[in-house]
């Protein structure tokens, strides 16, 4: 079975096509109803859903069967947010308890994933015990799993039994020579196999697993880590290959590599991509493939909305004291999910109406502009500039508004030459917004206002509580009317 993907599909039934939406590249719009149904409340599979629904990971899977050069297995840090890092390893029993506690307390949590800290399928007993119990005891939670793919072919049958209809495979390459630069070894048939030989086996298993999942009707997302100079030129090819095999979504993520992580890439000075490089690659793949751009590369024990982590509220000692009546919780969750769904539907309709109006107006011929938005969910601008932990980046152009990426406001210093000592959090945040010409938030204080203006980023607090796309388009039109879009701004792309 081959699933239609963006730009290939006929205009989706019941949805609005990209051009009529006023938003371009809308991730959901071209999907057939059957897939839309499956992902509409899954924050990691639908850009739309991630404004409303939360997810959690339970760290039940410590063992791994391969080594990746971006990973250090000495995982244990409460302050870092990246894949493979966890604070507490859970038994399946503890994981079930934690999941139910979170589901009862964060009713918009719809998805439970197992993502590590090792490879879930290298820990089949712990992983499947958790899935089996949750599918029986908490049937209203979607289950999903992510894997490096080495053990995937052997697990497909078992996965399909547990009603897991979302699987993420990390595929960084389809070329063993490139693979040898990413994976130093795999453990396969009782041996540690290094270099090209190991990478070749891994790639074969990933591709075979992908085909088997598609044959079972299981939705597959492919994650790829973009590593400049290693696989960056190759990922468009990966995108084509996995699309042809039926993966429905491709998530290209930037390499995270700092010396203090102790990873091969971190210590050896391999750099990650710049936001521009990442966006260019995502754009070049998007002609062929439905791209995910809202991934937060979260921890293997993350809890909450994608941009947040509420894991602290659900540590083992805290959930020990929680009495959960799951039947009651399920009733409550159902009502809340329904309300959210209605809100999403009405917003989608509103968006389509606005877009139709936009289309009827004379088309602008102005250049595209990047804008940053402060939001904590619900698809509206609702966060004070100073409180924003991250910003969503949108591009406004005569074709409409499209989501590009997110940027962290509190990025820690990478120690490079552009980051001088004593740089304030505010300066770091403003630097993170490089390339944006406006920032939309519910409020902006006096000090940041001046600094933003100096940095060439127009602060805007006039659209508080308004839907993001509408507000971005309104600001874009104001900029156009004011003649600000007639010329290129200074070095936008170069500095972004």
């Amino acid at each position: 079975m081959q699933l239609p993907v963006l730009n290939d599909a006929p205009a989706a039934k019941g949805g609005c096509s990209a051009s009529s939406c006023g938003t371009t590249d809308n991730q959901m719009d071209s999907l057939p109803d059957s897939i839309r149904e499956k992902v509409q409340n899954h924050p990691c599979y639908s850009e739309d859903a991630h404004h409303y629904f939360a997810r959690m990971h339970v760290a039940v899977a410590p063992a791994c069967n391969i080594q990746c050069h971006y990973c250090n297995r000495k995982y244990d840090c409460a302050n870092e947010s990246r894949p493979g890092v966890v604070s507490e390893l859970l038994t399946p029993d503890q994981a079930v308890k934690k999941t139910m506690a979170v589901a009862a307390n964060i009713p918009q949590m719809t998805v439970l994933g197992i993502a590590g800290p090792g490879d879930p399928l290298a820990n089949p007993e712990r992983t499947f015990e958790t899935f089996r119990r949750l599918s029986e005891e908490a049937p209203d939670i979607k289950l999903c799993v992510s894997t490096n793919g080495l053990a995937l072919p052997d697990a497909v049958e078992e996965l399909s039994k547990h009603n897991i209809d979302h699987v993420t495979i990390t595929i960084n390459t389809v070329d063993p020579e490139i693979g040898a630069k990413i994976y130093p070894w795999i453990f396969w048939k009782n041996r540690r196999i290094k270099g090209v030989k190991g990478a070749k086996i891994l790639i074969e298993q990933q591709q075979k697993g992908l085909e088997m999942l598609i044959a079972k009707g299981i939705l597959v997302k492919v994650n790829s880590v973009m590593i400049p100079g290693v696989n960056d030129q190759h990922l468009a090819e990966v995108s084509k290959v996995v699309k042809a095999k039926g993966a429905f979504l491709h998530n290209v993520m930037p390499l995270i590599a700092e010396a203090e992580h102790g990873t091969f890439y971190g210590v050896m000075g391999q750099r990650g991509p710049t936001p521009d490089e990442l966006q260019d690659l995502q754009d070049s793949c998007s002609g062929d493939m439905n791209m995910m751009r809202h991934c937060r590369q979260c921890r293997a024990d993350a809890v909450g909305m994608l941009g947040e982590d509420r894991g602290d509220e659900f540590t083992l000692d805290k959930i020990e004291d929680m009495e959960i009546d799951y039947q009651a919780a399920m009733e409550k969750r159902k009502v809340i999910h329904q309300a959210i769904q209605e809100e999403m539907d009405s917003k989608r309709l509103e968006k389509a109406t606005k877009a139709a109006q936009h289309k009827a107006e004379p088309k602008l011929t102005t250049r595209p502009v990047l804008m940053a938005v402060a939001t904590s969910g619900q698809g509206v601008i609702n966060v004070h500039f100073g409180h924003a932990k991250e910003f969503l980046i949108y591009e406004a152009s005569p074709d409409g508004v499209r989501f590009i990426s997110h940027r962290k406001a509190d990025q820690y210093c990478g120690g490079d030459s552009t980051c001088g000592d004593g740089e304030s959090t505010l300066q770091v945040t403003i630097r993170a917004l490089a390339g944006c010409e406006a920032v939309l938030c519910s409020k902006v204080g006096y000090e940041p206002w001046e600094m933003l203006e100096t940095a060439g980023i127009m602060p805007n607090g006039e659209h508080a509580m308004e839907p993001i796309e509408e507000a971005v388009m309104a600001v874009y039109k104001e900029m156009a009317a004011a003649g600000k879009l007639d010329e290129k701004p200074e070095a936008v792309r170069a500095s972004a």
């Binding site: 410590p62 010396a259 120690g415």
Partner: protein
């Protein structure tokens, strides 16, 4: 004769299921090898199974007390490069 797991073990569970002699068990602060049960995989496998999946260099010693996976052998990071990077971080 038996292998030994030492304190750099990160408790990832990977070795426990691959041991052909069920000699590895979970313990605090880290996994341990029952030296009476360990056969060093003799007669079963060409390589030590625990040390073939272990991701941590130096965490498993052979019967002579030598590291089966010495520094740099698994991550590919040359030990002197690692030392430099760590010294650099310490100085900040």
């Amino acid at each position: 004769m038996a292998v030994k797991i030492v304190e750099s073990c990160v408790n990832c569970f990977a070795c426990e299921p691959v041991c052909p002699s069920n000699a590895i068990y979970e313990a605090k602060p880290h996994f341990l090898v029952d030296s009476k049960k360990c056969t060093e995989c003799e007669g079963a496998f060409a390589d030590y199974q625990c040390a073939s999946i272990c991701p941590i260099e130096g965490a498993i010693l052979n019967a002579l007390g030598e590291q089966i996976n010495p520094p740099g052998s698994l991550t590919g990071i040359p030990p002197e490069r690692m030392a430099e990077a760590m010294a650099e971080l310490q100085s900040h």
